[in-house]
Assembly symmetry: C2
Homo-oligomer: 197 residues x 2
DNA sequence: CCCGGCAGACTAACCAGTCGGTATGTGATC
DNA sequence: GATCACATACCGACTGGTTAGTCTGCCGGG
């Protein structure tokens, strides 16, 4: 079999995905040409279209990766053995940390989702909805248990928190005064304080 | 003088701006061709390039309009005669309402800002920063007065709130269960509750 | 000898911006 | 009040450049 890795040790599909992620985040999906991606990955168009059906498939793959990762982590935190306040706090802080750790994916996610074809967009929305639901269920559990205020509908609270997460890619910089963990703690704090009965 | 309005009563530059706003929000800046804009406005390219220097100028004009509007409104609320809690609450709720009222502009703003050339981008950032500062000053005033918690840096609180505002264009629908005012009240509530000492 | 894994030239489409042209209004001059 | 000069407001064909995706073919291992 011909080599799938070349000079670098990592396989070509992953190199392409990594290059695409960086470039999409840097200049945006439409402003990144397929030619630039393959050059950054050290291959040619032939290689890209051998592994991916289209430029859009590349974008979708970035989404799928992020979604899988975040859903896994949320499930782990939500299903842990601990009081609801604790589980929500941990989940809320964790999504901040992992978002900051993958800021490129995050900015692609929020800026380029509408570039997907209707069907693929629908698919992504469905998965995102599942994530949203799980988070909401946590809040509703706390509301039923009386530890969270019921003044605001749980749905809106979820959107409130994820708005701030979404927003991270706009302002967070690793060179800023706050570390990832500090930001995560603060944002989780704000959420829980807003939910105090 | 030749007509600047034609069949429709509104002047051509405004028709162009309105068409561009709708299309940019619908398909994104890069996916909207100049040809589509002029067709939607019922004119031709000659007219567009007569009034605007480039496609990018059109985008910048959309920004400038939103920024002016929001800054004016914030200033009015922030400088009012009332306790800080009240002024912050009113300002926080108002930005939600005006954002929902101009959802097209909002989604363009947050999705297409990086399509501007570096200089124009810088200009927009400067104006946005001024807005941010004014909002932050309100929170700090409340913190000094002891009516807001100092647990979270004011900067972060501002980003927290504007994250949720930013996010509105992703999920809010006028056909949903909540009216503009209800959403605004809830989000302002969440902010103030998070700030309770 | 066959097939996965690629190279790279090629194509068909598209698009921002230009440019020469037309039509209508306005102000000055005689 | 007729003529001329000039400006504003637009039209639409054209250009130069870019781009996603295709296709033919080479190359090396099983």
């Amino acid at each position: 079999m011909a080599k799938a890795t070349d000079g670098d040790g990592t396989p070509v599909p992953q190199r392409l995905l990594a290059a695409a992620t960086r470039l999409f985040a840097e200049r945006g999906y439409d402003r990144t040409s397929v030619q630039e991606i393959v050059e950054a990955a050290g291959v040619t168009k032939g290689a890209l279209y051998h592994y991916f059906g289209s430029k859009e498939d590349l974008l979708q793959e970035v989404y799928a990766r992020v979604l899988r990762l975040q859903q896994e982590r949320l499930d782990a935190f939500a299903d842990a053995e601990a009081p609801v306040e604790r589980r929500l706090r941990d989940a809320a802080a964790d999504v901040v940390v992992t978002t900051i750790e993958n800021l490129d994916d995050a900015s692609i996610f929020f800026r380029s989702m509408h570039h997907l074809s209707p069907e693929k967009n629908k698919q992504v929305r469905i998965e995102r909805r599942r994530y949203h639901e799980r988070f909401r269920a946590l809040i509703e559990e706390g509301q039923r248990a009386g530890v969270f205020s019921v003044a605001t509908p749980a749905d809106l609270v979820v959107d409130y928190h994820f708005g701030s997460v979404h927003h991270l890619s706009t302002w967070y910089s690793p060179d800023g005064p706050l570390s990832q963990q500090e930001v995560a703690d603060h944002l989780a704090d704000l959420l829980l304080r807003a939910l105090r009965p």
